[in-house]
């Protein structure tokens, strides 16, 4: 009920409101009625012209509708907001160019509340009632998995933008789902070997007691033991834990050299605060699987500890980054986050890549779009990363550069939070387990969507 109330609909500009007002006046004055009729003709004429210029499907001018399934409440609310902003900026860029296939791109958003059941309900409603063409957005693997099951049922292409559980491109993969974030296994591969050599072989795992946490810690455990490390213990932390006193005391009693934490969302924020208070950040080598930008933005640098993974940093000295940052700041002046982070970046690139793929496929038909996405390759210079990215057709996870970073204590700029330590090419951190576990549904078992648009 609450999420229904929060349902946000933005179909087009404010012309509807202006039109209504003009119409009301027109009832009283013939002049205004005539002016309204004339302006309507002009607007329609202009729209047709745009469609012709874009070379789109002239028989179907209804907008392409994208359903944004980003959390606006719950423990991923802050990241969900960044995710949504990234999606919208990519859509705005296409609309500024005249739309896609001669059609404007509209979006609707509903709060998935960081809850799988809500994600499932929102996806069902967006597909059956709002008739969206595509679904985009996720922070939590539970929510992403729930949405993707509904999307697969109807054949709707769904982009999991920011959930990094290995299971999303492993056992929970779907033909209609594409995953755009690096996963726990990718990050673990980038971090583990170096950490064993540098920090020691006695490892302790702290694991959030749900799907993503277990998947990520299992990947770390496997890699660490394969490379000669010993796992001294694994401490399970229930989701929703706010007091880490007992966990941190027990961690100390285990005398580990390296602590690999797969703790996410608000739990990670609480743990980070408490680690910082006890100054444990410098006592152990911490490997934090991934650090989302919205979770640390605005915090003192002393609260950021250990080494962690990310997929992008606004401070890269790479072509296009400055312009991208400037576009972000222009479009998101109302945001409390003044610099784009990895979550925004993933949301933006997932959407942009989808729209470019539709343009290339010249249709919104799901089978055609999926086939194009499976062949996706993006040069590093375009994606503002250090290595080319490509879609793994077996798992539907984008293979991209994986970065390891730490707090940037050298910089006095409070925005310059990260110091990027390494970048690893995607072929060095392939999640082979996902390759083995993922069984994509065949195209024959994936409904054609939208049913009215046949594949070309």
């Amino acid at each position: 009920m609450i999420s229904e109330r929060r349902m946000e609909r933005r179909r087009g500009n404010d012309s509807n409101g202006a039109g209504s007002r003009a119409n009301a006046l027109g009832l009283r004055r013939g002049f205004w009625r005539a002016a309204l009729a004339l302006s309507t003709v002009l607007v329609l004429g202009s729209a047709c012209k745009k469609g012709d210029q874009a070379g789109g499907d002239k028989s179907d001018k209804k907008p392409i509708l994208i359903g944004i399934t980003a959390d606006a409440s719950g423990q991923y609310a802050a990241s969900g907001d960044s995710d949504k902003r990234g999606v919208i900026m990519a859509i705005n860029e296409f609309n500024a160019r005249g739309g896609l296939l001669g059609r404007q791109i509209k979006w609707i958003h509903a709060d998935t509340e960081s809850t799988p059941a809500t994600g499932s309900r929102v996806a069902e409603r967006m597909i059956t009632q709002d008739k969206v063409d595509f679904l985009i957005g996720a922070m939590s693997s539970g929510v992403a998995n729930a949405i993707s099951q509904v999307a697969q049922k109807y054949g709707v292409v769904y982009l999991n933008t920011n959930s990094s559980s290995p299971s999303e491109s492993g056992e929970n993969c779907h033909r209609t789902k594409f995953v755009w974030d690096g996963n726990g296994n990718n990050f673990a591969q980038a971090a583990v070997k170096g950490a064993i050599g540098k920090f020691g072989k006695k490892w302790l795992l702290i694991t959030n007691d749900y799907g993503w946490g277990h998947d990520t810690s299992n990947a770390t455990r496997k890699l660490a033991t394969e490379n000669g490390a010993t796992i001294v213990d694994e401490l399970l932390v229930p989701q929703g834990t706010r007091d880490f006193g007992a966990t941190l005391l027990k961690a100390q009693q285990k005398h580990a050299e390296v602590i690999a934490a797969a703790v996410g969302g608000d739990d990670l924020k609480a743990m980070r605060t408490q680690v910082s208070q006890m100054k444990l950040g410098s006592k152990y080598a911490w490997i934090n699987n991934q650090q989302d930008w919205p979770d640390v933005y605005g915090l003192p640098k002393t609260d950021i500890f250990g080494v962690f993974g990310t997929t992008w940093y606004y401070g890269f000295d790479l072509p296009g980054v400055k312009e991208f940052n400037a576009r972000y700041q222009k479009e998101n002046a109302d945001s409390k986050i003044k610099t784009p982070g990895n979550v925004f970046y993933n949301g933006y690139w997932a959407t942009r890549s989808l729209l470019e793929t539709i343009e290339k496929a010249k249709t919104t038909n799901n089978h055609a779009v999926i086939k194009e996405l499976e062949q996706l390759r993006i040069p590093a210079t375009v994606r503002m990363q250090h290595h080319d990215a490509f879609m793994n057709p077996k798992t539907h996870q984008l293979q991209q550069t994986i970065y390891l970073a730490t707090a940037n204590m050298d910089s006095k700029d409070p925005e310059d939070l990260f110091k990027v330590l390494t970048n690893t090419a995607p072929d060095q951190v392939v999640d082979k387990e996902a390759d083995a576990k993922c069984k994509l549904e065949p195209f024959e078992a994936t409904p054609v969507y939208p049913a009215a648009v046949a594949a070309q």
């Binding site: 006890m278 609260d303 986050i337």
Partner: protein, 303 residues
């Protein structure tokens, strides 16, 4: 495994849980209103304290204010933010007043609605992201005891919590105003017959409860972190503790808070995956034998 660190941690945690429950207990005990906005007041108090400590929005005055040592600004925030939230609580009481004498659901729904409004207001003003409530350097950092590192702030917070509990107890037990509050909880008709303005008294109690929620927020958020929905993390244990301790009982809330803290702390040391669940199991266990909670009958709020 050495049990002692976990026992100490559990006691400190218990005191903090008790602090969270104090304001909640007062409002439920006196007014029989389950204030679901308690968590949002807890969060708002911490945000207001953050603004008092670093009032960047005040321009030049703010800049010169920040030059004052942090311990003084922190102490000011600890004093002023609860007063501000007390005023917010008064506004809320004016709204809740219409539900007195009606079904409990009315008050429940109204305070639930108020909690949503407050939380959304926090999001609009401060954004959805994580914020930082600074604490004085002298109480931050680690304490080394044997081979184990403790958090200095946690002990400071627990000490602050004990002081707060002591002040509430002194107020309830040793002042004529406290006597009126207790009398109202016991027999409001008699209090009215004695010429005491019940409306004003309840306004004050609600404000006091809200101020205590704010104080708990200021004490706890440097440990839990500060975000718009942090209040949700407070209201659930608060509710559990007052039911466990006995609705309206001051000492019930204190003892239940300690019990919950010890249970969570020790379980966290041996079976961390059961730590959150352990407090609910404790509640089920106690209520199975004593449905009115630990001190439900011997409430300090009873005459």
């Amino acid at each position: 495994m050495n049990l002692l660190p976990h026992l100490i941690n559990g006691i400190a945690l218990g005191v903090l849980f008790g602090v969270i429950a104090l304001g909640f207990m007062l409002i439920v005990g006196v007014m029989e209103v389950i204030n679901l906005a308690h968590g949002s007041l807890f969060a708002l108090g911490a945000y207001i304290a953050m603004e008092i400590i670093n009032p960047g929005w005040l321009g030049r005055f703010g800049e010169s204010f920040v030059a004052i040592p942090l311990p003084i600004r922190y102490a000011l925030a600890l004093l002023l933010a609860p007063i501000v939230i007390g005023v917010v609580g008064m506004g809320l009481e004016r709204a809740v007043r219409r539900t007195y004498g009606k079904k409990a659901e009315y008050g429940l729904l109204l305070t639930f609605g108020a909690s949503l409004v407050l939380e959304e207001g926090i999001r609009i003003v401060w954004g959805k992201g994580e914020q930082h409530l600074p604490v004085p350097e002298s109480v931050d950092g680690p304490i080394l005891a044997g081979e184990v590192i403790y958090s200095k702030y946690r002990f400071f917070a627990a000490a602050l919590g004990i002081v707060l509990m002591g002040l509430v107890w002194l107020f309830l037990e040793k002042t004529p105003y406290g006597a009126r509050v207790k009398a109202d909880a016991h027999d409001s008709e008699m209090v009215r017959a004695l010429g005491i303005n019940i409306g004003r008294l309840r306004l004050f109690v609600f404000a006091f409860g809200a101020a205590l929620a704010a104080a708990a927020g200021i004490i706890l958020t440097p440990i839990w972190g500060l975000r718009p929905h942090v209040g949700v993390d407070a209201v659930i244990p608060a509710f559990l503790i007052i039911v466990l301790g006995g609705v309206g009982s001051f000492w019930g809330a204190v003892i239940a808070g300690l019990l919950v803290g010890l249970t969570v702390g020790i379980t966290g040391g041996f079976a961390p995956d059961w730590a959150n669940m352990s407090m609910y199991l404790l509640l089920i266990f106690v209520l199975s034998f004593r449905a009115r909670g630990l001190l439900g009958k011997k409430s300090a709020l009873e005459a």
